[in-house]
Symmetry: C2
Subunit: 190 residues, 2 copies
């Protein structure tokens, strides 16, 4: 997606060889007009897949999932929680997710009420890096007996291997901007 | 907002005298069509206020803020973070927020880059209960020297006093559904 790549080059900040900071438009401050375009592009790529629900994980994925859901005909969004709120009284599906950047492991949860074997689920998130979050969410879909239609990432950091890992498992992965490397403050796209 | 109240009655679950669970459409699973209506209503109520930015806090507020931002002419959304990510390297504004439901205190943060004295800020969130999150966000706006236009809540639990506290401070507060009490599984609106 050219407009996205241009925006990453213009406003993204490369840090070291691992991190590209996009908090001016994607995951702290949010440009809803760009997100609308991103949502439209996901809907175009997964057209005809009869997606019934979009699954994401708090927090940054929520904006992307909601803006995309509009373009899928106002289908429901479900966001997995990283903490167990005291209002989550019923049973849930849970999967462990390691965070390479934070060095922590957390459990992502969704209430069993909101994922069923009838669902055709698209997983969306801001980044696809090592793939831990996506694998965790795919595990939730699997526990529910629902169908995983695919995984969409706004930015894939190819060099961290998550995309390859998921594709090798047979998942359809669509990334709107794929970064091959980050070096000397420069972002190289695939 | 009648459609919202009807939805709370139909799908909300009253727990004890303090909690109304709306995770089937607002803060776990999300009905984007309803959120679009909610966004339109906030835009109607704050019409002519020249809002330049919507401020919310992760995670549940993000969907509401983004869907509303569209109706304010695609203005930017900024969501305060509850944890300090390793990519938040620059200076930030921070305010303490107590959570009555979780019994914890956390610091909400926004990067100094994204709030400026030129901004006219609308704070949006899913719930207004004791008002701690809203007061914390108002503190961030104040630290930045920006103008607080008002505070919008999808659901105000009037009996927990946050709305009154903010109105007494001179804040304009707009809540789309105001709950007077929760008793015997029944939700009574103002």
């Amino acid at each position: 997606m050219e407009a996205l790549k241009e925006r990453i080059v213009a406003d993204g900040v490369a840090i070291g060889t691992e991190i590209v900071k996009v908090d001016s438009f994607l995951n702290h401050q949010i440009d809803v007009e760009l997100l609308d375009e991103i949502g439209r592009e996901f809907a175009r790529r997964f057209e005809g897949c009869q997606v019934s629900k979009i699954l994401t994980v708090e927090a940054s994925g929520i904006a992307i999932a909601c803006m995309a859901a509009i373009h899928f005909g106002n289908i429901p969004v479900l966001f997995a929680k990283k903490t167990s709120p005291n209002t989550m009284t019923e049973e849930f599906y849970g999967a462990e997710v390691k965070s390479f950047t934070k060095g922590t492991t957390s459990v992502v949860r969704v209430s069993k009420k909101y994922l069923s074997p009838d669902d055709r689920v698209l997983i969306l998130d801001d980044f696809l890096a090592h793939g831990e979050a996506a694998v965790g969410m795919a595990e939730l879909v699997s526990q529910a007996g629902a169908e995983l239609v695919g995984i969409g990432a706004v930015i894939e950091k190819q060099f961290q291997g998550g995309g390859q890992r998921l594709r090798e498992k047979g998942c359809r992965v669509e990334s709107l901007a794929v970064i091959e490397s980050i070096r000397d403050g420069k972002i190289k796209f695939l």
